[in-house]
Amino acid sequence: MGAGRYNALALLRGAITGHRHWGRAWRAAEPRGPYDVIIIGGGGHGLSTAYYLAKVHGIRRVAVVEKGYIGGGNTGRNTTIVRSNYRQAPLQSLFEYSLKLWHGLSDELNYNVMFSPRGALFLGHSDADMARLAERGDAMIANGLDADLIGRDEVARLVPLLDMSPGARWPIEGGLIQRRGGTARHDAVAWGFARAADSLGVDIIENCEVTGFLREGNRVTGVRTTRGDIAAGRTGICVAGNSGHVAGLAGIKLPIESHTLQAWVTEPVKPMIDTVVMSQSLHCYFSQSDKGGMVGGGDPDFFPSYAQRGAPIRLEDSIAQSIALAPALSRLRMVRSWAGVTDMSFDGSPIIGELPLDGLYLNGGWCYGGFKATPGSGSVYAHLLATGQSHPLAAPFYLNRFADGRTIDEVGSGPMPQSR
């Protein structure tokens, strides 16, 4: 690895030398070119794509071009949940592939991404909810994933903080838990992939914004940036949140709209909750970070925005629901709220595939579920950028599925992003 291997012995050496021996985790590369592949977007997905291009496909003349600092978009703003407990089979397969990668990621990258499979629990508040959860669990198991349908008693044992009383506004009938799901440290994933990709020769170019595309007829031959023109064999857009803007630089419209999603974190307290708690019918979720803060969120702001800020009413709603589920949350203090820009696709599922221009590809439309896919998305996108063919797991997510009528709609709410 570029900066020397990370391990306990190295830390011990550092303790003696005042930690002066550590080097940069990734170089501040200057744009060169031509590259075989340029990846636009230095978030988790873009960096992971670069890593797998180099590691699995042996393609090392790769540049990741990032307009700010890496991981500064949604990778640094999500609520860190990792799971694959979806209902639709193509989503199950893609997210499960990613989940399996998570399980070995720290060792693979020699960077502790703090992946903690502490369990992702969906709560059911009625018989109807429980039937829906059972259906989801059945579909997961039938597709080779892990799921357990649990009753009230086990939910109470797993999450003693929940209000199990019959008089609760949303009484808890049981839940569906994916024990292999959990949380990870979002910044660490970006940094870990960056360091690993850099050590394999990938150029990570920060503070470099793409302002246009270089074209030869119908072919994209590179990018125009604030740091000059850079040539590329293939160019992959990987800027979820800004997919519409960047695709627009190529004159392409997408079935994606950018909406704001807010989240909150409380002051750090001693352990209160081990599992990630979500609800089948409520739109709130929360978990506790390793630092001790409770992290949670709820519905998006339901109108297009790139502002990375929303309205306070959204926070109030998600917090009211969270407190109704876990009353002890009420006395904690929120220390920070923030927002990201979600790439809302028109069926709620990602878009991974070719664009109408030769040599230009897209990986976006991840709505509010992109973080968990970080390694899997990078892996399948690398396959596409390396071979020009879709990875089988990514094939269903091609752009023209909307025109064909092959949408993959997890929630079943159709094309309008605000109905998700």
Partner: protein, 948 residues
Amino acid sequence: MRDGAGSIPFTFDGKAYAGQPGDTLAAALIANGVRLVARSFKLHRPRGIMGAGVEEPSALVTVGEGARAEPNARATDVFLYPGLVARSQNAWPSLAFDVGAVNSLAAALIPAGFYYKTFFGPPSRWMLYERFIRRAAGLGKPPQAPDPDHYGHRSAFCDVLVVGAGPAGLAAALTAVDAGKRVILIEQDAAPGGSLLRERVTIDGEPGVVWAANVADRIRAGGGRVLLRTTVSGYWDDNFLTAVERRVEPGQPAEGDAQVLWRVRAGEVVLATGTIERPLVFANNDLPGVMMAGAARALALRHGVAPGRRAVIATSHDEAYRTAFALADLGVEIVAILDSRTQASGPLVEAARARFDVHAGARPLRAIRRGIGLAGVDALIDGVKRRLLADCLAMSGGASPVLHLHRQAGGALEYDAARGGFLPGAGRQRHVSIGAAAGEHDLSAILTLARVVDPLGPGSPPAPGPLWHDEAPGKAFVDFQNDVTTLDLALAQREGYVSVEHTKRYTTLGMGTDQGKTGAMVALAQIADLRGVPLPDAGLTTFRPPYTPVTMGAFAGPMKGDHAAPIRRLPLAAAHDALGALWVPAGAWMRPRAYLAPDETLAQASLREARMVRASVGVVDVSSLAKFEIAGPDAMELVAAVCATPVAKLAIGRGRYTVMLREDGMVMDDGTLWRLAEDRWLITSSTGGAARMARHLTYVADVLLGHPRAAVVDVGEHWAGLALAGPQAAAVLSGLTGAEAPAHMGLSDAVIAGVPVRVLAASYSGERAFEVHVPGHLARAVFDALVGAARGLGGGVYGLDAMDHLRVEKGHVVIGAEADGRVTPADLGLGGVLRKTGGYVGWQALQRPALVEPVGRRHLVGLTSVDHTPIAEGAMLVMREGEPPLGHVTTAAPRVAQDGAIALGLLTDGTTRHGQIMLAWSPTRRSTVPVRVGPPLFYDAQGARYRD
């Protein structure tokens, strides 16, 4: 200034003390000689009190007991009340002897980001380490019990919102009130005055504190609202701000609301938010006894408390000199004033030189510890290292304007090189910064309309001097709460975490509960120096709400318990209660699920009720269904746009089943369509889709059809609906109305129990049935009449479960179950009901290649349990266990008219699989049931039961 014993009793770590009215917990603790108050987050270093308000990074304690305990309270931001119970946190077994202090010894092994470099292995191993990390992390213990406090929400509107009741804010608010504006003045302290609370100035002949109180009174008298103990926490779009008012102190029981969340829409916002003092960075600058100069001054002048016996002042600007005077007047020995500037002058400095030892070009190198607190300071004086003995070190690296709200509002920043910090620049919204927050430090300039007398004279403008140093053994802290030192910042730069955001996330700088209020600028200065760029080029992190931490309960406010979300009750709810209904939520509605007889299970009751309907007659409440009346010359055009079935040929007085599609061709809703008159229509549709349908109707009308001459009225909540179903239904109806029942799919007006009603002859159950619409407030009489008559013929009431069993036998789909948002009408076998001439919403999307293709879509099918074992709803449909599913069970039900179990399902290519035996497999419920696939119809295929 302080009476000896103090009149307000409180405890800290079990020991009893007393303080005075107006004391903060911090002031009272220091007055009682308690200097060790906390242990730091990571390294468990002993900590005391550093600040005087919300910027306090170190003195975090738990205040209150039991369910009222509030962890992580700043001792400087808690005002004393009788019986206050405070405890230290993050220390075991005791504050003085904390086992966690071993972290300090191992500090070299745990620099910033150490956890990214180790703890490898399988995730299960990481989770083992994690258990210890999580137990060590977190500052306070959270309460386990539900929150006994109540929180309110209030909205307010004003012409001018002034944030901060310091001198600038008070003057601005008074001016606005005198000009006739509606004014709200918000102040986070318990008293108005701001900086005046820690200075000895007179304004218009009164002590500053008195002047402030008087101005506040005048503002109130002029109609302004003054909110104390209220912090503006967020500045949102369009001059909308949220503020949190504390009506009681942490841990204190409240009679009404403990806190109120204010939502203020202001015409203009005046930010008089003052400044926060910057620390100096030197080795061991976190010891108990080291504090901000302004905080020491506040202790002395506001609370009459001496922070120590021998004090050193270390500063880079004039204002801290005032602390020397304030402390000296309380009898504290001023050992020295260390001024980092090589040339300091002005009346304030000269006055100090006359009385104290003032050293220019001097700075602290290292704070010396004895026991758990400060014993002395190694200082650089005249180029030589000298040790000064002191138990108090009051430091000041200048003052940073509080810019958080300005930045949240989208305001720009301007770098001021002289002060080494930022000033507010252009605002994006209608707001302005004034006073110290705008860089104005001279009180006379701020209060141009008042006569200010400062006995010490004005200081010269702040100059930062060198802000940070890393030159002596020992840890030099930049972020006190998260134990981030100069070495950590250097490490981050060395490892390439160069941008300020990366540095912050890698070292956790500024991510504590104080949100980096004290350390932000000094950290930025170091980062800039390490990168070799001017400070403004180092970048700035984003300011986010809340400005100070806000209790979660305050966000929820009154949306607590049952009020966390609305509950909708049917107009006949009381009648159902009287009949012993078992309720079930259906969206926000509560609907009767069944009416259990004694010793009956739910399953038994539902089956009994369903059988009752098939055998004689039943009454079910369908009031929650959506209903819309559309009237006008263009009503049919609107109906035809929304409904995908034929419309034009529907005769007056007749109805039909109809389906409404989404723009992408999927079934969005279904129901019935009735023609009441030439130009008047009634649509009924699903309960769950009511809001969506209401919106859809107006969208189609106004946006697609350009305001046709058609009025749409949502009559869903006007009409209660009662469905009467069964072979005896017509008899019951005629018996009550005295008229013949309408024919199947016909409608008529009638009178039941003296109440005018509308009767729609439609069947959901498969029996002869009538939907009776009656105004909700008159429904009871009609309900009682129907139920009474039904009972007379061996029938009665039935609930949602029975209704479901009946409709499954007839293969009727339910929106959300069979129509799951991913199926077309053709998938549900309804292709035949679509209007062939198109022109309805969704008709185009149905032409998409995958939707016109006959192969590979899921179709609605009926499933019959081969051996009568109940089918699990939601189960997967497979040929063999373990194979990828070909479909799933959407609704399961017992057969009503005979024994057995059936279900509806969605199955790939289902129409080609009739007759096949598959498995309804539910591994989560350990259920595998063989089922025969067939058409979705199990009862009365000819429809003979409900036709005349």
